[in-house]
Amino acid sequence: MKLSNKTKVLEQGEMTLAERMYLPAIVGGMATTLKHFFSKPVTIRYPEQQRYLGPIYRGHHILKKDEQGAERCTACGLCAVACPAEAISMVAEERKKGEENLYREEKYAKVYEINMLRCIFCGLCEEACPKEAIFLRHDKMVPVFSTRDEVIYGKDKLVENMDQRYLRDGWK
């Protein structure tokens, strides 16, 4: 018994004269290719042209600052714990007097490093962060590296630049 009535039995009969002569089918096929010959190519010339990948694309990491320009990260280490690839490491430091404009919380990350060879861009650090400090940008990718020295990204490459703030679609 059949479980559903979706199965169709195809019966291939004997080929007709036109089918056995090939030529009508060949002419039809050539018409199809000629049609495509004159249609517009779908190619995107990648390095020069880039396709919009959507507002939730997970690209280059960024350590956000708040509106006053103070770093949000408090070096709680939740991102490092959440990271399945163990790509994140950090060294915490207590905020000194006079550094309030630099760091929002009383503790901050003196060193914050992401190993880009380990990172799998899963975005779990972003989800784990209680301070909304780390994000994966949708508009920028981690560039290709050629030597292992370039692999570990420190705070110099990760912290947000206040002149070019990162805004995701839907944010104010």
Partner: protein, 374 residues
């Protein structure tokens, strides 16, 4: 003899020009092959080397020359080197008898725009094309590799099989022109009396055979990657491989030129006599040369168009088509042509031949169908 020397020099220069045109077209065929493939697949194709990738053949040539020229240890070294040389030689020799244009007078020297007008012109083409398979066979055998050998054997048997039907379709042309000379064949077609009008079946046969002779898709079984790695050129690298590939493109262009000569009036074009009256016969002849090359390039495009449309035949299908399809068809064509000459209405006979062929096929099909049901 002063005159002979002048003609000799003029011919030498002309042959050099034809040589250069052939090689240039072959080089740029590789580029256009990739471009046409790309366009037919909705892509852009090579566009990095120069504007629109126009320098791509140069880059390919540099790549080919820079690669290691490898000769397998157990190969027959001399034959291994001779294979691609033979392929290239035979590919370039064919153009000698193609009439590129009518008689011109340049700097007081009158000569034909043709390498050599021999009275066995079309036989020369056939002889050289038959020799062309030696390049493949020698290369494939000398590689000492079973895949190469299989490819070579395939090439040889395929070329022999399709030469028969090709020869038969030529015989019909020869019956109309009454001469083997390519020049004479073109001259009988002047002023729009192109052979295609009288020989539609012959042209289709010749076209299919030309695909097989050039080892082009859908008959590219000698270099069938899915079965034979690279076929006869599996062991080849560097410019030796380049010669094989180059020879294929030259063959394409030359077979296009031969088809234009035999079926599409050669260097004839609409308004030839008008141009000759207005600008002189020299200009008309040179435009005719352009017309012939244009027709040949059109055939090169058809070759590529078919390549990017059709999948490869199976080997038994290839042999079946050649022996049981095209050879009887070409015999039928010879009979139809003979009848056309008898009643002095070759065009009518050509059309009638097609009608009779289709009616015959249809009746045969209907009859064989009834038998199966009963």
């Amino acid at each position: 003899m002063e005159l002979m020397n002048d003609v000799f020099t003029a011919k030498a220069i002309f042959i050099g020009i034809v040589f250069a045109i052939t090689l240039g077209i072959a080089a740029y065929s590789t580029y256009f092959e990739r471009k046409i493939a790309a366009f037919m697949q909705d892509r852009i194709g090579p566009d990095r080397a120069g504007p629109f990738g126009i320098l791509q053949p140069l880059a390919d040539a540099v790549k080919m020359f820079m690669k290691e020229d490898f000769i397998p240890a157990n190969s027959n070294k001399w034959l291994f080197i001779a294979g691609p040389c033979l392929s290239m030689l035979t590919a370039l020799m064919t153009s000698a008898v193609v009439p590129f244009g009518d008689t011109v007078t340049v700097a007081g020297v009158t000569f034909d725009l043709q390498g050599i007008d021999v009275n066995i012109g079309i036989l020369w083409v056939f002889g050289i094309v038959s020799l062309g398979v030696y390049g493949i066979l020698v290369g494939g055998w000398a590689s000492n590799n079973k895949y190469s050998l299989l490819g070579a054997i395939r090439a040889a048997s395929q070329n022999i099989s399709y030469e028969l039907a090709m020869g038969m379709s030529i015989i019909a042309i020869l019956m109309l022109s009454g001469s083997l000379s390519t020049k004479a064949i073109v001259e009988t077609q002047q002023a729009g009396h192109w052979n295609i009008l009288q020989q539609p079946i012959g042209f289709v046969i010749f076209l299919i055979c030309a695909f097989a002779e050039c080892n082009r898709t859908p008959f590219d079984l000698p270099e069938c990657e899915t079965e034979l790695i690279g076929g006869y050129h599996t062991e080849y690298s560097s410019m030796k491989l380049g010669f094989y590939l180059f020879a294929e493109y030259i063959n394409m262009f030359i077979s296009g030129a031969v088809m234009a000569t035999l079926f599409f009036g050669g260097y004839d074009y609409p308004g030839y006599s008008f141009v000759a009256a207005q600008l002189g016969s020299n200009a008309a002849a040179f435009i005719g040369m352009g017309a012939l090359i244009g027709k040949a390039l059109l055939f090169v495009f058809v070759f590529m168009w078919v390549r990017w449309t059709l999948p490869r035949f199976r080997y038994d299908q290839l042999m079946g088509l050649g022996w049981t399809g095209l050879i009887p068809l070409s015999m039928f064509n010879v009979v139809v042509t003979g009848f056309g000459i008898l009643i002095d209405q070759p065009i009518l006979a050509g059309l009638g031949g097609i009608v009779i062929l289709f009616v015959g096929l249809f009746v045969n099909d209907a009859l064989s169908r009834k038998k199966k049901i009963a």
